[in-house]
Amino acid sequence: MPKIKSIEELQKLREEAQKELKIRTDTGTVITVGMGTCGIAAGARETMHAILQELNKRQIDAHVKTVGCIGMCVHEPLVDIEQAGMGRITYGKVTPERVPRLIEEHLINGRVVEEWVVARMDAVK
């Protein structure tokens, strides 16, 4: 039986996390998953968990957050990837099965998966 987690453990985590926080905020990656009714119905919860699993497996540090409906419901599940200095790309129909390739191509190889892109916003120069 694993040790039962307690809130006190979080305070230890806080010290570790604080050391890295600045670096991550400055250079980090933010992944946003649309979680309106349309997204949920299309499987966005499972997509988000596939993303967390893949990031964990590959030991990639990235913030993952959820937002409500951002429009383009027909393309759900929608996933935005934003990297400092690299702009923001919105991918459509990101099923859990597509997640490993998306993470590998975009985050590891630094190549946009053009055929899944539904919108993009260039980095502010």
């Binding site: 039986m1 694993p2 039962i4 987690k5 809130i7 006190e8 453990e9 979080l10 305070q11 985590l13 806080r14 570790e16 996390a17 604080q18 926080l21 991550r24 946003t32 979680m35 309106g36 009714t37 949920i40 119905a41 499987g43 966005a44 919860r45 499972e46 988000m48 968990h49 596939a50 967390l52 699993q53 990031l55 964990n56 540090d61 990235a62 913030h63 993952v64 957050k65 959820t66 937002v67 409500g68 409906c69 859990p96 099965e97």
Partner: protein, 194 residues
């Protein structure tokens, strides 16, 4: 929807769209009374009497508030087909309380499903929302309050990779403890694809 935890996620999204900053989610499983009650209480903008009257009509939709659509009608149908009911209390400026009751043992009742996954999705919401979660199964109880978590974390956000990993484990252990079972998928550090 195939899981009640997806309905809960959907109803909580309504609360977020209504500008809620505090949401309480209660799940009460009383096996002696054969009752499962889900309650979502928010401090969002609330609804007027006319909106409240029509909110479970699937064909009534105003996308400006996002308080309507298929979410509530689907939950109402799910409750009523299981010998239960859906009640909504709301007033402008007073927030909204949605209560769904089910006969626990009803053959058509969808499983509660992956509550840790739904909660993680809510906890990673942007803008952040304070969540109080209480799940009771008979005499047992699992609770989580994000204010307590944020107090322990200081300026480290819940979205921090190390924190979210911890949170997911914490939720899985807490939920499993209600039923005397090992957390599902104990060989994984994060959940699979559904």
């Amino acid at each position: 929807m195939r899981e009640l935890s997806l309905h809960i996620l959907d109803i909580v999204q309504n609360s977020l769209e209504a500008g809620a900053t505090h949401i309480t989610i209660e799940i009460d499983e009383d096996l002696a009374e054969d009752r499962l009650t889900i309650r979502v209480i928010d401090n969002g903008r609330g609804m007027d009497a006319e909106t409240l009257r029509r909110v479970t009509d699937p064909f009534f939709t105003t996308r400006t508030t996002r308080k309507v659509g298929l979410g509530l009608p689907l939950l109402k149908a799910a409750a009523e087909q299981c010998g239960g009911r859906l009640t909504i209390q709301s007033a402008p400026g007073q927030g909204t309380t949605v209560t769904a009751e089910f006969q626990h043992s009803h053959i058509d009742r969808a499983p509660l499903g992956d509550m840790p996954a739904s909660l993680m999705t809510i906890l990673l919401a942007e803008p952040p929302v304070e969540v109080r979660y209480i799940h009771r199964v008979n005499e047992r109880r699992f609770e989580l309050d994000t204010r307590e978590l944020r107090e322990a974390l200081g300026d480290v956000p819940l979205t921090h990779p190390k924190v979210r990993q911890w949170l997911y484990e914490y939720l899985r252990q807490g939920e499993a403890g209600l039923w005397d079972v090992e957390p599902a998928g104990a060989d994984q550090t994060l959940p699979g694809n559904g």
